[in-house]
């Protein structure tokens, strides 16, 4: 949705030269190594990246200490135990350890979010490259189709799909979430590929007889590397948020599987919300900080790319 909006804004504002930092399309591409150099100058961004790495380690290493079946063992005598002692973050309504659920759930959410990003990234970038490079009728059709998809309320459709396919594994769930994500990416990459394909180095390669695929992968794609990185970072944040949101509504992972969304579901009940804040507050804080760091890093990367571009690399 955001990608569609930025594109529309850039089209209308193009004549007035009201391009702005959210516009990834009309700016020239930047070598990502120099972008990283610029990134390092932004102290807060480096801190964000560091925090993110630390939290990832915390989640992935910490979850090794917990066994899923043991954590999800219902222990009614221990309901809503306060933090401390055996259970560092207390227990929830079924007596299950909150810290264990938090770490295991965060791990699942992060893995699922990353998987969706990678999957829709491959499809989106791949289709975008092909469509932008070859052009023609297929390109036109694909763009119409993508525009149609981008208009639809995607979250609603994903919810409906999830409820129809009632029995699903984590893998199917990831597929369902990726069902519409690739469209926006496709369009962004297709537009960029089109402008790149008109450049001299591509024409030179074609004249030399280089295979089309090689041109796309070895020559055009590296030039889009800054776009790839920024786009992937932002969609990672969105996808993690989407998975958490779906689980929160009850249409994500099954309740027996630990997840951040499931922990947050408890916040709906007023008694839990007020009296047993340790159940949902750590989960909310963790996901908030993780997403904040990812987004801040993404914005910093974008600023770094812009700064480099204005300096003429």
């Amino acid at each position: 949705m955001e990608e569609l909006k930025t594109e529309i804004a850039s089209v209308t504002a193009g004549e007035n030269r009201l391009s702005h930092e959210a516009n990834e399309e009309t700016k020239a591409v930047v070598d990502f190594r120099s972008m990283l150099g610029e990134f390092q100058k932004d102290k807060l961004a480096v801190v964000a990246l560091g925090t993110l790495v630390f939290l990832l380690l915390f989640v992935f290493v910490g979850s090794l200490f917990f066994d899923e079946t043991q954590v999800m063992q219902v222990d009614l005598l221990n309901r809503y135990a306060s933090p401390g002692g055996n259970h560092l973050l207390g227990t929830d309504e079924a007596g299950r350890d909150v810290l264990g659920q938090l770490l295991l759930g965060a791990r699942t959410s992060l893995v699922a979010g990353t998987a969706v990003t990678v999957l829709s990234g491959f499809v989106g970038i791949g289709l975008g490259l092909l469509s932008g490079y070859y052009g023609g009728i297929l390109d036109g059709l694909l763009m119409r189709f993508i525009e149609f998809i981008m208009i639809l309320p995607v979250s609603v459709l994903v919810l409906v799909l999830v409820s129809i396919v009632s029995e699903y594994s984590l893998f199917t769930f990831i597929l369902l979430m990726s069902a519409f994500n690739w469209a926006g990416k496709s369009k962004v990459f297709r537009n960029r590929t089109r402008s790149e394909a008109k450049r001299d180095y591509v024409r030179a390669s074609k004249t030399a007889g280089t295979n089309d695929m090689l041109i796309m992968i070895r020559e055009i794609l590296p030039n889009l590397s800054s776009l790839v990185i920024i786009n992937t970072t932002m969609s990672l944040a969105r996808n993690i948020g989407m998975e958490t949101g779906l689980s929160f509504l009850g249409f994500g992972l099954p309740p027996a599987v630990p997840s951040i969304g499931n922990l947050l579901r408890y916040a709906i009940s007023p008694t839990v919300f007020e009296n047993y804040a340790w159940v949902w507050l750590p989960a909310a804080t963790l996901i908030f900080v993780v997403l904040l760091c990812i987004i801040y890093v993404g914005q910093a990367l974008r600023r770094a790319a812009d700064a480099r571009q204005m300096q003429g690399q």
Partner: protein
Amino acid sequence: MWNRILRRVFFIIPQLFAFSLLVFALAQWMPGDALTGSLTNLDNPWYIRYLQWVANMIRGDFGLSYTYRMPVVVLVGARFGNTLWLAVASLLLTYLIAVPLGIYAGRFNGSLGDKVIRFFNSISFALPIFIVALLLVWLFGFQLALFPTRGMPLLPESQTLLASLLNRVHHLALPALAFAFSASASTIQRLRSGIIEAKQEDYVLTARSKGVPESMVYRKHIFRNSSLPITALLGYDITGLIGASIFIEYVFAYPGIGRLFISSLESRDFSVIIAVLLIYGLAALVGTLVSDIILTIVDPRVRVR
């Protein structure tokens, strides 16, 4: 220009058609007969059933709800008003917050206020909307006990109009604020960038050298040009509003269409699911249509003779 607008308006017909086909296909996937709420008609070929369904819809028959045992139209109609109230209040609040802050951040670029605004922007961008909603409920509903956190009870008829209105606003405050906090981020960012760019334009320099006071420079020239992306994208905002309203109505137990949608998903009440899906799709298509029309009208590439 009117040519383009007319073409855009007509373009919505194939869009509606494609969307209805999509919904029809989804409905086939659902067990039972989602389109009429009954178990008849399964023998006819699919195109007959499709036309039957469209004909029914035109007559206002959206089938029966399985859980509530009443026509879907009645069920949805009762909630629709609530969601409309919420949508209007949310959008109003969003622009009320975003426009002043965006202008301030753009005008006083680099100041402390700008930095604070940008910081809060990053936060609201990062937070998924339901977490914002939960935090608001906790802060205002429980800790400060200022606003109600659930539902939308209607006052009895005997109460005055003002009392009913105040009651509504009181219950709308937190949900609308939750949406506004989350949605204002992108608007503020866009407005701020637009103003920063516009500040450097030649016509601003000209106006200043003519002696035009600073505030008028901003009002007449800069803001007019920067407000374009915002007004034009209003229609696209509607699609975002749809997704957000589902979460907000869920957290606040607000009796709107979003809440109905979730409960019908939980109870597998497919007729209601289909009907709500159609409403959402229609809203999204109409919203983008409006946006496209506005964009066509204000497109600087189109010169009015």
